[in-house]
Amino acid sequence: MMVLLVSVTVLLVIISAAQILKIAELSAISKGVKVYEISEKDNRVQAVLMLVFLVFYFSFFAWQYLKWSHLMLPVSASEHGVGVDSLMNVTWLFIIPVFIITHILLFWFAFKYAFKANRKAVFFSHSNKLELVWTLVPSLALTVLILYGLNNWNKIMTPVNSEEDHVLIELLGQQFSWGARYAGDDKKLGRANVNYIEGANFMGIDSTDNNCKDDIVVKGEFHIPVNVPVQFVMRSNDVLHSAYMPHFRAQMNCVPGMKTQFNFVPTITSKEMKKITNNENFEYLLLCNKICGAAHYNMQMNIVVESKEDYAKWLSSQKKFGSSLPNPSEGGALVETQK
Amino acid sequence: MASITLQDLNTKAEIRKKTAKPLLWIGIVSIVMFFSGWTSAVIVSKGGNGNWLNIELPFAFSLSTIIIVLSSLLFHYGLISIKKDNKKMLKLAVSLTLVLGLLFVVSQFYGWKELYSNGIVATGSSSTNASSFIYLITVFHVLHLLAGIISLIVVSVKSYKEKYNSTNFLGVEVSIIYWHFLGALWIYLFLFLKYIA
């Protein structure tokens, strides 16, 4: 209802404005004025509006920042995320001053140099010196940003060293839910492929592969220990998905027919984060961030970060994949194997 | 409203003279980009696939290569002839080129037949990307070649009507540029499929 009311009002205002302006034009034409020429008075009004807009734009920017900055993602819950956040902040330090200065210049010049019949514009067609300055200065600034950025990028993209103490988790996207599989004690994920999908085995794990016996498959929620590197491997059963864990500054696409990977070290437990965000109901989430179908907007999984001990306890309470097989000798015959 | 005068009609002819070849050249650039899209797709697909099938190209494709090179040479001889106002030679050269062009298409069909009888199919469950790409690329080359054949037909009809002479042979030139391009494109695709894919 509110929307309808607003719409009708806006429509009426616009129609009447157009009518008034058009009538003004017609009457001007009848007086013999060249209507397409912008009068000096009109020009003055537009010049002032330039300044008004500048003020509006900056205040709008400030207002949004003040009103919404506390709604942004909380402090990074992963080790590399701290680096990402500080890179982000440094980038803002470059961007915001440039944004402000160029906008002041733009609208100030527009205001100051509005047309006056008795003034001449200055014929100033080029200056190698100036152009050199604004080629070199951005180049230098960019060099800093690129080097800083790539330094972070390389660190983030280096997989976990397999000899290091770590957790290996496979994330599987499918329309429209997530599954997670832990490598188990042998730190190896059993072979998996869509051809093995059958009943509850939605991840398509090949039960003939011995590495899969101790694998643990969970849905709805997965746990990770704090301060231990987590190596993720991503897969998809059907279309593209993207495993997006915004609180950890982590994202990687899930591509059917391909394995992708990402890793991070969680640093803040779910409990601590509830305190930081001042929100009892806070949960870390794994979201789907690549359009994947009708329920794309509702494809998520909770992530629980907890102490090593709690994690170990939770993990031991989960069912191992091997134990779900009715009879190990029949396991492989469920689906005709390929390759 | 103003009208176009006779003088402007001359301008039209002049515009055509000035722009026909550049239009074709830029068209060729876009065709090159079209095929390079696919040839780079082959490289990307091959790189990401451990089971890439290396396919032996059929003998007919080599034959096609020889045919198309011959046809280009012949056509070029026709161009040289008409520049010397030798209309008879042009007729002969263009008609033979046309025949060779059709032979090329026939030879390609034999090539596909050979591939097919070797169990290399374009689609379906027994196809692989390697086999699909071979058919796709060669078929689309032939589709582009059909445009060349149409232009050859036009040029041969016009040459039989003696429309060309040593001062007016733009049509022949345009047709020949495209034909040479098709030949060069085929040689590139042939070598690519043979040695890279």
């Binding site: 806006v10 157009a18 949004q64 942004m72 140099y113 059917p256 | -």
Partner: protein
């Protein structure tokens, strides 16, 4: 090709199958605007859903019918609307509508040519585009709905009707329409390039070309290089969808069964798509930049600052645009080293862009600015180009992209830098060259009002999206109130949607002004803006061949505004010297 050179050519050949570049230009403009308005309405509809999720709206009920039960659109139809909005805006409004209109109108007129190199190809170019538009619109009405896989149509989603209903007939028609569109666009580009390179009038050297022409030339070149690759990508998708090949598909389990497709990779599609997709950004943007360069110079009564640097930066942007596509794919699992290379090339684009911005600013400095609606939109473009371009530094940086990739931050960024800049450039161009298009003047006051409503609402829509993105809201979500994480962001969505409704109505001002002025506006004088460039020496009425008698000869660059002699008096007595004026005795041609 026969040309029709009679006064009394019948209606069909004058208005429909015209080979005259000015008529084709108008055809592009009007078709583009119709498509644009449809795209705008779509966006308003899905903004209603995002602002007030799940609420029933009369208008949605009426317009969407079976797509929206009880006035609430279905989730997959939301995606269909988003997809079609993107496709229509990017390709139909901002590629064909913008480039098609102004390249056609201005290239022959500004370089001094009778018409395009090939009027016939030019006509074909429009008709391919028109047919493509019609098919795209028809696809809205087919069973399963229109294409719904996002405008980037990533397979497998776009390849499998089992994955989303829109990937059935709707997607087939989408692909057919795009194939026709590409052919039309290529035919146009061929013509633009050859005309510019071969048909310039006497004296019109490349360094005397207006910047508009340089922009159109580079746009056409990028088009010729990148559109064919999209065609080859689309063909592979067509084969995957209909003929059982597996170029993009592998290991898929959907609808309870494993598909036969094996060995392909969706990443291949992404590479091919973005090899066009990124240059496409500049296909959209460069013409707008060219148009505003011309307008800002004319309306500030100053030469454009750094003419050669402007050309140089456009060339650099055009070149770089073809080697940065990977920045759309940082999180697809690409080789990290490749990611680093793409970061580097991407951020390099900031340099020529910065040069352009500072050159615009310097052009305004000490000018004598007349605020026509075209000037306002041009200044608006500089603002959006800065505001949107700067956040590109974040998205282009692979490490930062990880967390904002595919969020509303991206939506805000590209709508401002590409969407707004391009549409502002298009509006500026329409206001400025309306007298050339229709021989009449538009109403300035309504135009100015249109500008202020548009820019305020546009920032009101897209600026807050950055905050949504930084809060981690993914794009293409039907609603973000499904789980509690984003609950407190609903206010932002309400604000955005409110602005979206106002801006949609605001465009009615333009529509009214456009239609009314085209039919009844005051008659245009020959050179209403006291401009130097060649198109204003042509008669107001449209004639075949553009000029009575000989084509004028050119003696100088187009930016001799407010040129003074040593006594500070205007050379030639006025604050502008048209390109057709020979050099005066006391004058040197060292301006650029």
């Amino acid at each position: 090709m026969s040309t029709h050179h009679h006064h009394d050519q019948d209606f069909l050949f004058k208005y429909v199958f015209s080979q005259d570049h000015k008529m084709i230009s108008k055809q592009f403009l009007i078709t583009g605007f119709i498509m644009g308005f449809i795209g705008l309405i779509m966006s308003t509809l899905f903004r209603l859903q995002l602002g007030w999720p799940g609420e029933s709206f009369w208008i949605i009920d009426k317009l969407l019918g079976s797509w929206a039960e009880n006035g609430v659109m279905a989730p997959d139809k939301y995606l269909a609307l988003v997809t079609m909005h993107g496709t229509i805006m990017v390709f139909f409004l901002l590629t064909a509508g913008l480039s098609g209109t102004f390249s056609n109108l201005l290239i022959p007129l500004q370089i001094g040519a009778r018409d395009m190199a090939s009027g016939f190809l030019n006509m074909l170019s429009f008709w391919f585009f028109f047919l493509s538009s019609v098919i795209m619109l028809i696809s809205l009405g087919v069973e399963g709905g229109a294409a719904s896989a996002g405008w980037t149509i990533y397979p497998p989603l776009s390849a499998l009707p089992q994955a989303i209903p829109g990937s059935g007939l709707g997607m087939t028609l989408w692909l057919v329409a795009m194939a026709l569109f590409i052919v039309g666009s290529l035919l146009g580009s061929l013509n633009y390039i050859v005309t510019i390179l071969n048909l310039r009038t006497k004296g019109m050297s490349m360094t005397r070309l207006p910047l508009t022409i340089w922009a159109f030339l580079l746009t056409a070149i990028i088009g010729v290089v990148s559109f064919p690759v999209l065609l080859s990508a689309a063909l592979l998708l067509i084969f995957d969808r209909g003929f059982g090949t597996s170029f993009y598909l592998s290991d898929i389990y959907i609808g309870g069964q494993v598909l036969e497709h094996n060995g392909g990779s969706p990443i291949l599609f992404e590479h091919l798509f973005w090899f066009l997709g990124h240059p496409e950004v500049y296909i959209v943007l460069l013409p707008a930049l060219g148009i505003t360069s011309e307008i800002i110079s004319t309306m500030t009564r100053k030469p454009i600052f750094g003419y050669r640097a402007m050309i140089g930066s456009m060339v650099a942007i055009a070149f770089l645009s073809t080697i940065v596509w990977g920045h759309h794919m940082f999180v697809t699992g690409m080789n990290p080293f490749l990611g680093a290379v793409f970061t580097f090339t991407t951020l390099l684009i900031a340099i020529p862009s910065a040069v352009k911005v500072f050159n615009y600013l310097t052009t305004l400095w000490k000018g004598n600015i007349k605020f026509s609606p075209a000037t306002l939109f041009s200044i608006g473009l500089v603002s959006t180009f800065i505001s949107g371009g700067l956040t590109g530094l974040i998205l282009g940086d692979s490490a930062l992209d990880i967390n904002v990739h595919d969020t509303y931050f991206v939506v805000g960024h590209f709508h401002i830098v590409m969407g707004l800049s391009a549409i502002f450039g298009m509006f500026a161009g329409v206001y400025h060259w309306f007298p050339k298009l229709f021989g009449r003047m538009m109403n300035n006051k309504i135009g100015q009002l249109h500008f202020w409503i548009t820019i305020v609402c546009a920032y009101g829509i897209f600026f807050p999206m950055h905050f949504l993105g930084l809060a981690g809201v993914p794009r293409r979500y039907y609603t973000n109130s499904e789980f509690p994480l984003f609950d407190n962001l609903l206010d932002i969505n309400v604000l955005i949607s409110t602005f979206a409704i106002i801006i949609a109505f605001g465009q009615l001002l333009f529509l009214y002004n456009f239609v009314f002025s085209a039919l009844r506006g005051p008659k245009a004088p020959q050179n209403p803006w006291d401009s130097n460039s060649l198109e204003w020496t042509a008669p107001v009425e449209h004639i075949h061949g553009n000029w009575y008698g000989d084509i004028p000869e050119v003696y100088r660059w187009p930016y001799d505004y407010s040129k003074v002699d040593e006594n500070g008096e205007y050379i030639g007595g006025k604050d502008f010297i048209p390109q057709t004026t020979p050099l005066y005795d006391n004058e040197t041609d060292e301006a650029h």
